[in-house]
């Protein structure tokens, strides 16, 4: 198993290398000139040129790519074009707020999604099932920024219970994680429901019932455990997306995370920051996928790693 783990880690290197080429080409293919954007709309051409020289943006692209990869290998991500600050420092600062927000959103939404999904599956066709799935569809369809602003208006402006935005204390996590998790909870609920319904048709469930197990054990132990594999895969995928930072939720809640950082960086064509962040997102996804694969073994001991 350790062998398998190490092999998977090693296999990430060529993948990341390919991603680096793709990311570099992609961001440089986007129209937009960082020197002009930094200078501002009302700047004269002379001002723009002086900024371009100051940032070395007049070098050939291939050298800019070599610089970028050389930096990546040495884990020095270069400096932000916009602020001049080391990118590693900016990412380190933005990582934790996004990480905690993702964890909070994931925990409540997966627990909620699992319970709601199982109940819906068991009481399939009942009013409860319909109500649950109605909520789930609403959760998927409701735009995040709208839900966020509604929550803010009610809990912060109207009731005054929570701060509107920013990340100064743990309670500031509540509204953004509710907003961010709503979509995930809905996806998890629908996913769990259909997975449990599928498993419930299997012979071993009938066998379990036939040997007189209580319904609660049948559902929560036998059915759910076997339905978990697709559900865990989906949760991992969602976690990967969450860790990328939600631009919309972070903007609405003034969250000092990776999503806000990425949005500012894209708006200013801050190549160094955008490239580094996308590399980080890719790495996170690869690691989460690996973690999910390893989890399969714990869920279903029949799975062997070779």
């Amino acid at each position: 198993m350790l062998n398998y783990f190490l092999r998977r880690l090693a296999a990430m290197v060529p993948v990341l290398f390919l991603i680096s080429i793709f990311v570099f080409l992609f961001i440089h293919a986007l129209p937009g000139d960082p020197a002009r954007l930094l200078a501002g709309e009302t700047a004269t051409q002379a001002e723009v040129e002086s900024i371009r020289r100051a940032l070395n943006l007049d070098q050939p692209l291939i050298w800019q790519y070599v610089d970028f990869v050389a930096n990546l290998v040495t884990l020095d991500l270069g400096n932000s074009l916009r602020t001049g600050e080391p990118v590693s420092q900016m990412i380190a600062r933005a990582f934790w707020p996004t990480f905690w927000l993702s964890i909070c959103a994931l925990v409540w939404s997966v627990l909620f999604g699992l319970v709601a999904g199982v109940i819906s599956a068991v009481r399939r066709g009942s009013p409860g099932d319909h109500a649950g799935m109605f909520l789930a569809v609403s959760g998927i369809s409701m735009p995040n920024f709208w839900l966020g602003l509604l929550l803010m208006q009610y809990f912060s402006v109207h009731l005054g219970w929570l701060g509107t935005s920013g990340f100064d204390e743990p309670s500031d996590l509540i509204l953004p994680s509710l907003t961010l998790g709503a979509g995930v909870a809905a996806v998890m609920a629908r996913f769990t429901r259909s997975a449990v319904i599928d498993v419930a048709r299997e012979d071993f469930i009938r066998t379990a019932r036939a040997k007189g197990l209580r319904e609660r054990i049948v559902i929560w132990k036998h059915a759910l455990r076997n339905a978990l594999i697709p559900v865990v895969t989906m949760a991992g995928l969602q976690f990967g997306f969450l860790l990328g930072g939600s631009i919309v939720v972070e903007k609405v809640f003034r969250w000092p995370g990776l999503g806000s950082l990425l949005l500012d960086a894209i708006n200013f064509r801050d190549y160094a920051v955008v490239q580094s962040e996308i590399m980080l997102f890719s790495l996170q996804f690869l690691l989460i996928n690996l973690a999910v694969d390893m989890l399969y073994g714990f869920i279903n001991p029949a799975i062997r790693y070779k």
């Binding site: 986007l30 129209p31 937009g32 000139d33 002009r36 954007l37 930094l38 200078a39 501002g40 709309e41 009302t42 700047a43 004269t44 051409q45 002379a46 001002e47 723009v48 002086s50 900024i51 020289r53 100051a54 916009r82 602020t83 001049g84 600050e85 900016m90 600062r93 933005a94 920024f145 602003l149 803010m152 208006q153 912060s156 402006v157 005054g160 701060g163 509107t164 935005s165 920013g166 903007k251 609405v252 809640f253 003034r254 000092p256 806000s260 950082l261 500012d264 708006n267 200013f268 064509r269």
Partner: protein, 509 residues
């Protein structure tokens, strides 16, 4: 209870109350609409940076709420008649936050930095005309220019022309650690989160400041800014979008501030295209558009109709009389010009919600004179690349471009020259109509060649009249600058140029 016990108890109670009512720190919190780029205005083109820095770093001359020049670190100033020598008398008894005395040498260090084009600072171009900076005595600074530049006083008042501590310029990175003479001392900047300032107890004007701390938050989502104001997390919101002003107005604890701006919004007509070479067509476009309705649609009614290429609060403005809306005449003019059946145009604009509303409105209005407009909303960075980085006037694809220009020096020169002079053709500055008129170019040059205000006013009057006559753009609106403020707070307000001031913040209790 014995007397002693009582006495002890009351003493304890008194001590308790003394502890329980410390002097309340008065904090001012402000939500701004953009992220902060640099704490050094010499190297920034952004109003948000100028605004934040204005309480820390002061200028020689500043603007009052109506964009009139008022003294700050200079007490008097004058320009020579040939507009080549400008003399500033400095305020005495001023010290920088780091203890360095404020004097002519300090100002020279800053002016030299701005004049030195090899510094590659964003605002070096403002001081391109400066040849030498002299200091005849400790409190006099003289700017000698390479060529006459009549707008120099307003240039020195530009919000980027601040005076850093010369010691900080040498020893610190002033992009991150500004040290000035202002009523507030820079404390910390957490990028993307906040900037914190503290009261300067030794401020040269002993009456100020009246609040203990000022904290700025960049909050790019407008609805969040408003929620923060309404829940009293901030006491001031800069900028308040017109469409959210009602939410603030309807709240008993907050008020909407509104001043006419100096940003003039236009749809430039590409005069290198045959269809816009005819003055009658350009005039017809202006007559076909209902500017009042434009302001209602785009700014919820918060704006004024332009009646000159520059706004009323810009220095040397002269009204030319608004075009008004006259569809009959617009159609007649189009017919005269041989375009009774109209033609196709491509209009470039910005893809945010305001920008798209502008484009759609214009498209609808132009359809009334049979002009079929294809509107192209672009993301900000894409638009600026296509317009300012790679455009070649002869092959430019657009027929019309939406744009707004604000002259941050408050002087007619920095509106007319970039937008209407031949030297301003994009990509060089902002003349997106490729307008070129000898009378106008000459008048703009004449106005710079003299330090005499009357002569400058006359030259700018000529330029404004000619531009209005030629109509190289459809003049659309001067949007009002709006902000939201908690009632009971004074001394914090937005300026017509899009910056804000907070040095004289005070709470009425």
């Amino acid at each position: 209870m014995t007397f002693l016990k009582r006495a002890a108890l009351s003493a304890m109670l008194m001590a308790g109350t003394a502890l329980a009512t410390p002097v309340l720190a008065e904090d001012l919190k402000i939500a701004m609409d953009q992220i902060f780029q640099k704490m050094d205005p010499h190297n920034s083109n952004y109003n948000v940076d100028y605004s934040v820095a204005s309480g820390v770093l002061e200028r020689l001359i500043t603007f009052d709420a109506n964009m009139k020049l008022v003294p700050q670190l200079a007490t008097e100033w004058e320009g020579s008649d040939d507009a080549k020598t400008f003399t500033f008398k400095l305020r005495e008894g001023v010290t920088f936050h780091d203890g360095t005395p404020f004097d002519a040498a300090a100002v020279k260090a800053n002016f030299d930095r701005l004049a030195d084009q090899s510094q590659n600072l964003a605002k070096n171009s403002l001081f391109k005309v400066v040849d030498t900076v002299e200091t005849p005595d400790d409190y006099t600074v003289v700017l000698n220019l390479k060529e006459p530049f009549g707008a120099m006083i307003n240039t020195v008042a530009h919000p980027s022309v601040v005076i850093h501590s010369p010691k900080a310029l040498e020893e610190l990175d002033v992009q991150k650690n500004p040290v000035g003479t202002g009523p507030f001392i820079f404390k910390e900047w957490i990028p993307g989160e906040r900037v914190v300032l503290e009261k300067n107890d030794d401020y040269w004007d002993s009456e100020w400041p009246k609040v203990d701390t000022v904290t700025f938050y960049p909050v790019t989502e407008s609805a969040t800014r408003v929620s923060m104001l309404l829940s009293d997390e901030v006491q001031f919101v800069h900028v308040l979008p017109a469409e959210l002003s009602e939410r603030v107005e309807n709240d008993d604890s907050a008020e909407v501030l509104e001043v006419p701006g100096i940003t003039v919004w236009t749809a430039s007509l590409n005069m290198l295209k045959d269809k816009f070479k005819d003055q009658r067509v350009r005039r017809a476009f202006n007559l076909a558009v209902d500017q009042e309705a434009f302001i209602d649609v785009v700014y919820s009614g918060h704006g004024v109709v332009p009646d000159s290429p520059i706004a009323p609060d810009t220095r040397f403005y002269e009204s030319q009389g608004a075009f008004g809306t006259d569809l009959e005449e617009a159609r007649a003019l189009m017919k005269e010009a041989g375009h009774e059946d109209g033609f196709d145009v491509e209009i470039w604009g910005i893809n945010n919600s305001t920008g798209v509303r502008m484009l759609q409105f214009l498209q609808q209005q132009l359809s009334q004179i049979n002009v079929r407009a294809k509107i192209v909303p672009m993301e900000g960075a894409t638009r600026s690349e296509k317009l300012f980085s790679s455009v070649d006037p002869e092959t430019a694809e657009f027929d019309m471009v939406m744009g707004g220009w604000s002259p941050s020096t408050g002087d007619a020169d920095w509106h007319l020259r970039p937008v209407y002079a031949t030297e301003g053709w994009v990509p060089k500055i902002y003349n997106m109509a490729f307008y070129s008129n000898e009378t106008v170019d000459q008048a703009i040059a004449d106005a710079l060649n003299t330090g005499d205000a009357d002569a400058r006013a006359e030259a700018y009057a000529t330029a404004q009249k000619q531009i209005w006559e030629d109509a190289p753009a459809v003049w659309l609106a001067i949007e009002n600058k709006m902000a939201g403020r908690k009632k009971g707070l004074s001394g914090v307000f937005q300026m017509p140029d899009g910056t804000m001031q907070y040095a004289k913040a005070e709470y009425q209790n």
